[in-house]
Symmetry: C2
Subunit: 262 residues, 2 copies
């Protein structure tokens, strides 16, 4: 490593907290010797050491993640993510973003793919292709369930296999990257039990672009959409990074007219 980023960060944060090496070392239960070595880059911290030090420095979660990354470790995640929405300006910006997407659809998800917000266009799509009569509870409010559950969008999804495949693949990938997230893992186990789900292919051949195609058809209504995922914030900023927006665009002229004509 050219410049040891962790060393510099640690020094700066300790300075910001106005602690001497000795004080910090004492509080964190670390030897002053080792702390000094860490700040000069002569030693590299273990993951636990990073966590201990950042905890004693009372750093915000986001900062801890930066420190972890600077030392070459994966970030930690949190179970919150709803109250980040309480931040008024973020909330307002999201509202506007969704609104700008009209008449196309756009939906805001949390990291378990629960629907948090939905614009008019998306609501119309849902109303059109999801049979509200016999939708099992929880299916309409969760993207993964909506796609994979037999009473969800599945009857209307012409290319169900592909869509299911990328959805499953993505969920599995997420579970692998954040093994600590129990809720997400539970969701994965749940949908794996749905009929027909175990039949979709195993590891897709290197797939996984941020866009994908969706072909819906129910009665005389038919739409070919392609969708794109975006997440709030930068990938490094973990504040509200669990918030994802999926935007739906018409994939052909017919769908374009159909969307406009409603």
């Amino acid at each position: 490593m050219t410049h040891d980023a962790f060393a510099g960060l640690l020094k700066r944060w300790r300075a910001a907290r106005r602690l001497s090496q000795e004080q910090l070392a004492l509080e964190a239960g670390v030897s002053t010797r080792h702390l000094s070595f860490l700040e000069t880059g002569k030693s590299k911290p273990s993951r636990e050491m990073v966590l201990r030090l950042t905890a004693t420095l009372a750093l915000a979660l986001k900062e801890r993640n930066v420190m972890l990354a600077s030392a070459g470790f994966a970030p930690i995640f949190t179970a919150r993510s709803l109250e980040s929405l309480e931040l008024a300006p973020v909330r307002r910006a999201i509202e506007l973003l969704l609104q700008k997407q009209e008449p196309y659809g756009a939906v805001l998800f949390d990291r378990c793919w629960n629907v948090l917000r939905m614009n008019e266009g998306a609501a119309r799509l849902m109303g059109c292709f999801l049979d509200p009569a016999h939708a099992a509870p929880g299916v309409a409010t969760n993207l993964v369930r909506a796609i994979l559950h037999p009473s969800g969008l599945r009857p209307a999804l012409v290319n169900w296999v592909e869509v299911a495949q990328v959805a499953l693949e993505r969920l599995e990938r997420e579970c692998a990257t954040e093994p600590t997230d129990e809720a997400r893992r539970a969701l994965l186990e749940e949908v794996r039990c749905y009929p027909g789900v175990d039949a979709v292919g195993p590891i897709a051949p290197e797939g996984g672009a941020p866009t994908s195609l969706v072909h819906l058809k129910r009665g005389r209504d038919e739409a070919r959409l392609f969708t794109m995922l975006t997440t709030i914030g930068t990938p490094l900023d973990v504040t509200a990074q669990e918030l994802t927006i999926e935007s739906y665009f018409p994939a052909d002229e017919a769908t374009e007219r159909w969307l406009q004509g409603r």
Copy 2:
């Protein structure tokens, strides 16, 4: 860890490549013993081991990052990111996204904050508040330079100090999280030499929300905007995660009218 994610992933990928433990171990220069332990979760891999194994398995970069994360390590990044744009559907989706944002502004950046694409609204904003006469080269095509360089937006930025602070902070944070990125570090060094930049505060007090306020004024034109960052893809999906979109919304009624009236 409840379920060792890395172990399972490794086993699945090896199976997908139709290799026996012995073959893979031989090719990767690892003892069969250790490989077996890794697949049963009895041993945990070092960062280098993960890289060696994923390399011999010829996994895509994205998959390597997933494996790294599942073993608790930070992902690796790549220097490309432009050719991801060549993916036609992604490109098209981005085009549509920017277009939907009209008449508000929206700009697409790469991870060095170079401008890759810009919609009409953003172009108008730029034209209005950036003095093209004496803008130094490279300033108009890079967000960080545009904000921090004296010949950029700085004269028009009423709340320059705050804006500069978050921009600097963000850049520094990024440099810390990805110490390998030389280009980005060079940019940081460059802008640090601009006059007045060293005077902006050090570490901001736990700031860094995904939205921020911008107040622009030049002659009779004045706009108060708030901006939000979104990135393409999910935070875990590294395919094109280096692509960031900044969207500009009016922060008050006057600005709203001013924007519509152009």
